[in-house]
Amino acid sequence: MTGNIDHIQSDAHIQSYGKLLGVLAILLFLTALTIIVSRIHFGGANIWVALIVASVKSSFVLLFFMHLKYESILIKASFLATIGFLSILIGFMFWDVAFR
């Protein structure tokens, strides 16, 4: 459980402004990258490239802006489970949609 009531959040992890700015820079770079890449014609693979870049971007937001990196295993595991559940819903629906 948590510590003394007076200093209950003082032992929390502090991320420096520099580090957060660095993350922002990466995010902006990835945004530019995904726009540029979308202009290149990969055919059917375009959407996958876009999704992969989006996933990388959201990982940065999650890990650093949302402090997921410093959260307990419960949050990490349950977050992945949620994403897994959503992927199963979409994926299993394709048993129908892809084989009509």
């Binding site: 819903l89 048993w95 129908d96």
Partner: protein, 565 residues
């Protein structure tokens, strides 16, 4: 109303050393009705759910009886076809969203989960109260839809395109279901946080009672599956207002996708309904067998497995909808996998009783009926899960019989068992055993006579939701109607018996049954903060050594008194 009766009853007991939660409002500045409506005490909130859920249950029960009365003879018997459509829709909506889903988690979960974890409340008490208000708001809107523009006639599934094109007031009912979904979701959120953050110090995961475990598994399904229903219902509303075309074939939309989205929630919801019921049975069986539950870890594991596997099989409701054959094959196969964890539980319960010292009581009697009826429900589910036979009986009365065996014979009977099991804990009084047995026998007999003919009718080919039928279905429908009346009579006897106990029920000791989980270690009814002294972790929750030893000394005093009433 029963609650107010209870307060006056408790006032006569003012000499009791420890004040129960009925006498100590929380927050303490509120008194009278405000002490209930503004309370943040999980026990009071549980009881407010009990009062409201029971009202809905009786209403939906009567609606169901009207349906069966109409079907007892061919042609128009007591109502017109439009009324019939509205009534079976409301019966379904109320039973599912206002009774079966909230019944066990919201009433007994709220009341007992913190106690079983050895803590004094849920993690977010105000959110808990908000859930109740959302529940009431949803119920209110459902009632309102009766009086505005005609009640909906779509069935509880709100299938497009009919739900988009019908003139009746689908929008309001759908909004009601949306709000009820939020209520259920927030309860789940609260329970998960409570289990993770508020277990008493020293309580390990494998020491959590099985009822709480089942609520925990349920809570995850509530949390992750309900939003899918919310967005689906929202889309139906958008479709009706703006004609967005997402499910409209004339604009390229695909109605089958609506069915996918709907069952992505509603099949997991079946496990939201049954898992807490299984948890109740897992508590009752060991207590009255005086024997540790067989396969504690297997039951825990199967609860979680059901929660996971139950989310993968939604499309077995859609074998005849026109989806791809590959999907029919895959989902049929997956459906068979879900049967395994359910069977593990049934075997565990039966094995617990084997060579136990069985003590027959009304809660155990209801639990035994549960195991029997649920097994039939589960096995007929395999008939429906197998694609070949499913296509034969799809949308017939066979389906109706199957899911009533699971939802009513399963969750409903588990709910009755829970009522009788925890009644002395919640109200501090014991009901009459003889009348409880009569009620249980009537209910079960009526149940069988009611639903067994439907299996036969279904195999003969009688479709569900039809207002009229061919002459050869007359006999079966007539008997089903008779069964319905016996069933309802049984339920009424049961409820009356419980209500009478407020008037002349005997005071119950803290542990009338010889239970070992934490709720039996505290006074009945519990004090505001649940525990007079800090509870100590007992390790494994189902150790009956002490109970058996003390029983041999004073031979079950309280139970003998209870049965003589």
């Amino acid at each position: 109303m029963e609650i107010i009766g209870k307060i006056s009853y408790m006032e006569t007991q003012a000499t009791q050393p420890i004040k129960s939660f009925y006498e100590t409002p929380s927050p303490s500045r509120f008194t009278g009705i405000g002490a209930w409506l503004l309370t943040i005490d999980h026990k009071r909130i549980g009881l407010m759910y009990m009062a409201s859920v029971m009202v809905w249950f009786v209403i939906a029960l009567i609606l169901g009886l009207l349906i069966r009365t109409e079907l007892m003879a061919t042609g128009s018997t007591i109502m017109e076809a439009e009324t019939y459509n509205a009534i079976f829709t409301l019966h379904g909506v109320i039973m599912i969203f206002l009774f079966v889903i909230p019944a066990i988690p919201a009433i007994f979960g709220n009341f007992l989960l913190p106690i079983q974890l050895g803590t004094d409340d849920v993690f977010f008490p105000k959110l808990n109260l908000l859930s109740w208000y959302l529940y009431m708001l949803g119920g209110f809107l459902a009632i309102l839809s009766l009086f505005a523009d005609g009640p909906p006639d779509t069935g509880w599934t709100f299938y497009v395109p009919f739900s988009v094109s019908t003139e009746t007031n689908v929008g309001l009912t759908v909004t009601a279901a949306f709000i009820l979904g939020m209520s259920s979701m927030l309860t789940g959120l609260n329970f998960i946080t409570t289990v993770h953050r508020m277990r008493m110090p020293g309580m390990k995961w494998m020491e959590i009672p099985l009822f709480t475990w089942s609520l925990y598994a349920t809570a995850w399904v509530q949390l992750l599956a309900t939003p899918v229903l919310s967005i689906t219902l929202l889309l139906v509303i958008l479709e009706r207002i703006f004609g967005s075309g997402l499910f409209d074939p004339s604009k390229g939309g695909d109605p089958i996708l609506y069915q996918h989205l709907f069952w992505m929630y509603s099949h997991p919801a079946v496990y939201i309904m049954i898992l807490p019921g299984m948890g109740v049975i897992s508590e009752i069986i060991p207590v009255f067998s005086r024997k540790s539950i067989f396969g504690y870890k297997a039951i825990v594991g199967s609860s979680m497995a059901i929660a996971v596997a139950g989310s993968l099989v939604w499309a077995h409701h859609m074998f005849t909808s026109g989806m791809s054959d590959v999907a029919v094959f895959v989902f049929s196969f997956l459906t068979f996998i879900v049967a395994i964890p359910s069977a593990i539980k049934v075997f565990s319960w039966v094995s617990t009783m084997y060579k136990g010292s069985i003590l027959m009581t009304p809660p155990l009697f209801f639990s035994l009926c549960f195991i029997y009826l649920f097994s039939i429900g589960g096995l007929t589910g395999l008939v429906l899960g197998a694609a070949g036979t499913n296509i034969q009986v799809h949308d017939t009365h066979f389906v109706v019989a199957h899911f009533h065996f699971v939802m009513f014979g399963g969750t409903g009977f588990a709910f009755f068992a829970a009522l009788h099991f925890w009644w002395p804990k919640i109200f501090g009084i014991m009901y009459n055993f003889k009348r409880a047995y009569v009620a249980a026998i009537l209910t079960t007999t009526g149940f069988m006579l009611h639903y067994i003919p439907m299996f036969i009718l279904g195999i003969m080919g009688m479709p569900r939701r039809y207002y009229d039928y061919l002459p050869e279905f007359q006999t079966g429908n007539f008997f089903a109607g008779i069964g319905a009346y016996i069933l309802v009579a049984g339920v009424l006897v049961m409820l009356l018996n419980l209500l009478i106990s407020f008037k002349n029920g005997e005071t119950s000791p803290s542990d009338p049954w010889g239970g070992t989980t934490l709720e039996w270690s505290i006074p009945s009814p519990p004090p505001l903060h649940n525990f007079v002294e800090s509870p100590k972790p007992k390790g494994y929750p189902y150790d009956f050594t002490d109970i058996v030893r003390s029983n041999s000394l004073n031979s079950n005093d309280s139970l003998n008194r209870g049965s003589k009433l």
